[in-house]
Amino acid sequence: MKLYEIISETFNVKTSELTNDTMFLELDGWDSMAHMMFITNLEDAFEIDFEGDDIVNVSTIGELKDLLKKYEVVEL
């Protein structure tokens, strides 16, 4: 739930509207600045540092979950 709360707070969207197929670009509150904020929110909340193009290649919530698992984030 932590992940959904971060998405909800950053993009001002209800957690109930989010699914694995949700594309970040299609969220009503999306813009490039909000997305930059989202990346630092993720790094801060999960205590990770994204490397290279990892995070920028992520388009959907499902892809983000897979990426976070790669960074050994257990509790999403």
């Binding site: 993009f11 001002n12 969207v13 670009l25 969220l27 009503d28 509150g29 999306w30 813009d31 490039s32 600045m33 909000a34 997305h35 930059m36 904020m37 989202f38 990346i39 630092t40 929110n41 790094e43 801060d44 540092d49 193009d53 920028v56 388009s59």
Partner: protein, 238 residues
């Protein structure tokens, strides 16, 4: 000449100011559709250690209207409310005096449009932080009207004699390196460091990131904020 083109946000988080301080010319991109759930007119502060959002009320704001057309609702007593909220939240903050005065000047000034108060807030805060940047407003210049996405951004960048365009990392998917290179313009993406931390009023060791610049200004000296503005990385798209 480094250029950035970005939607206007009211007193946004530090990443926005990092972009502003890194470029020579910052274009406020206000002739695009309003983002209703975005950060144009809202942000977050800390009250007694808890996150609290503030919003400037707008008249008929919708995703079908341009940001440049949207008026602030002057009938609501939001100015006093917002100033009171800032006062209650930060009156014990180390830099309260000078920052509250700056914010009071911005919030109580004369304006009708949301983009007007945002321009003023950016000018005031940039001046306080000694950010040397030229600011223009896209709706006043009408460059590349009819073009969409990166095509319009490129036209605006060219109109400012830009040789280097910088965008927040979040937009990397919608930009094409080759498209900018063909015009001799370098394309980079800025990412804010998630390591940015400072002592926040009302918080112990815990830190809440990405709040409005108000929180940063209230808790840090001008020199400390200028140092925080340097904590970012620039990358290119491979």
């Amino acid at each position: 000449m480094k250029v950035a083109v970005m939607q206007p946000y009211f007193l946004p988080y530090i990443g926005y100011w990092q972009l502003l301080s890194e470029v020579d010319h910052f274009v406020l991109y206000d002739d695009v559709n309003f983002i209703k759930k975005g950060y144009v007119n809202r942000n977050n502060l800390l009250i007694n250690g808890m996150i609290k959002s503030f919003t400037i009320p707008l008249i008929k704001a919708s995703q079908n209207r341009l940001i440049s057309e949207i008026e602030v609702d002057s009938n609501q007593k939001w100015r006093q409310k917002l100033l009171k909220m800032i006062l209650l939240s930060y009156k014990k903050a180390p830099y309260f005096g000078e920052i509250y005065e700056l914010l009071e000047e911005v919030i109580n000034s004369e304006y009708n449009l949301i983009s007007e108060i945002i321009v003023l807030s950016i000018q005031k805060v940039s001046s306080y932080l000694m950010i040397d940047v030229e600011i223009s407003v896209s709706s006043q210049e009408q460059v590349g009207i009819g073009l969409k996405g990166q095509r319009r951004i490129l036209e605006i960048c060219k109109s400012k004699k830009g040789t280097h365009y910088i965008n927040p990392i979040g937009g990397i998917e919608i930009y094409d390196n080759a498209f900018f290179q063909e015009e001799g313009i370098e394309l980079s993406f800025i990412s804010t460091s998630s390591k940015i931390k400072y002592k926040q009023l009302g918080k112990g060791e815990e830190f809440i990131n990405n709040l409005s610049i108000i929180d940063v200004l209230m808790n840090n000296s001008r020199e400390e904020v200028i140092d925080l503005l340097k904590q970012f990385t620039l990358t290119t798209k491979s």
